[in-house]
Symmetry: C2
Amino acid sequence: MNKLDYITRQLAKAQKKRFEHYVVTRIWHLLNDLSIKFVTQQYVSRPDGRALTDIFFPQLQIHIEVDEGYHKKLIDEDRLREADIINATGHEIIRIDVTQKIEAINAEIDQVIQRIKQKKVDSTSFSPWDIEFDYSPEKFIGKGFIDISDDCSFFRKHEAASCFGKSFKNYSLQYGEVQHPTELNKSLWFPKLYANEKWNNLISNDEKIITEYSKSEDIQLTIEKVLKKGYLNRIVFARVKSSLGDTMYRFKGEYELDLLNTNSVNGLIWRKVSDRVNTYKSTEAH
Amino acid sequence: MNKLDYITRQLAKAQKKRFEHYVVTRIWHLLNDLSIKFVTQQYVSRPDGRALTDIFFPQLQIHIEVDEGYHKKLIDEDRLREADIINATGHEIIRIDVTQKIEAINAEIDQVIQRIKQKKVDSTSFSPWDIEFDYSPEKFIGKGFIDISDDCSFFRKHEAASCFGKSFKNYSLQYGEVQHPTELNKSLWFPKLYANEKWNNLISNDEKIITEYSKSEDIQLTIEKVLKKGYLNRIVFARVKSSLGDTMYRFKGEYELDLLNTNSVNGLIWRKVSDRVNTYKSTEAH
């Protein structure tokens, strides 16, 4: 995917809501900076629940919401189920009131653009949008870590797994969990964090707790298997549908099994212990 | 309709063609001039046939066509039938090649914007876009004429008719033809220039000839009625669906009956005699 593809696909999304569409296209074109990535219609988790923001700038953690003056935007629960929902706690949210005259709306948009530009200038960690590199293990191996603020997701499981000291080949990961190649007491986990055929998994709105709950086998049996494997810490890449409809694996942080609360009623309870995990160069000979 | 409504409706149209959509929204937002009117997806007649241009600036007679590198855009014949097709002979047509990289496309768009701005500066007849005034008889009465280059259309027949020396009331024009209030040997005509239940009317691509052909009565009878009424000149406002789907009456010029070629085989042949007609203040007491 090149930037033209990405941008045109993102901008063509807000079709039916013409005020939202006007604001989104105007911000993007007048910002006029190909080093800044954006996502339209981003699902977010906030302390007050799930929401949809109209344009999101991941490098700057700014969201824009178009306020049309009536009820909150309805969220399509069906799409939400598999959606790439990111935790927006601590992000900056700017509202634009489109119930005004066009001159006033345009003036508000100009201010938003100034704010975005200023935040880019002020940022100490800004790195330019590189659409190929964004999804490559090398980016995160080079940094030495993946942080929740990195807006990290991969198209394939083996790409995510290759950040941790071993180069995995495509199709080499058949299962949803694999041992961490370097930190051997941990695993890499690629769950669906929503109800599906086999699991009733769930992530809390603040993303601090993941509940793992098997549908197809006795919970007690699942717990025993997990304890037997012995990985009480998991680095989580959740399987999601991206904003453009692609299946992706979104970095969620490192979680640890909460042994006290894990039982056959609750299921397995995983608590976030870190927003950041270390990455490692592959130690294999080439 | 205010400008925000008009603009957001126009920009939301090119939804499914994402490259076209990118170019259209970018030109509009970066041009950033509310004094310039635009129309997206304008049907045009050109000497080489009918076409659809992606963004049209009526005051400047500039059209932009997005060139996606494959076949010409298909025209939906069904929508075309009633469409507001304007004669683009003599208009400037600029193509933008979207098969390039985004940086090159953006550079081409910047040049187009410079061209539009320059043409506005150079124009001796530019008057700022006034969305209410655009559709009011007063605008054209004030000018003293309506010219084909004025991009003149009205939402209602009585508004068009009120440009010629008498204030017509809404719903006062039941029929498709009414005597010109000032130039008494002429009429104002509001035809459908496409095949419909009662008529097989047609306008040529260069808009020089209108053929009037009745389906429901003997042509010879129609000819006799027209000759009896005695209006051998008609000022034509064709009934069309505007680019936003509204029914409107589009000024086409003054036409004169071609007596030599009018017969029961050809139907009535009307030839354009002028692109410009005079307007008149209402002479009624208020």
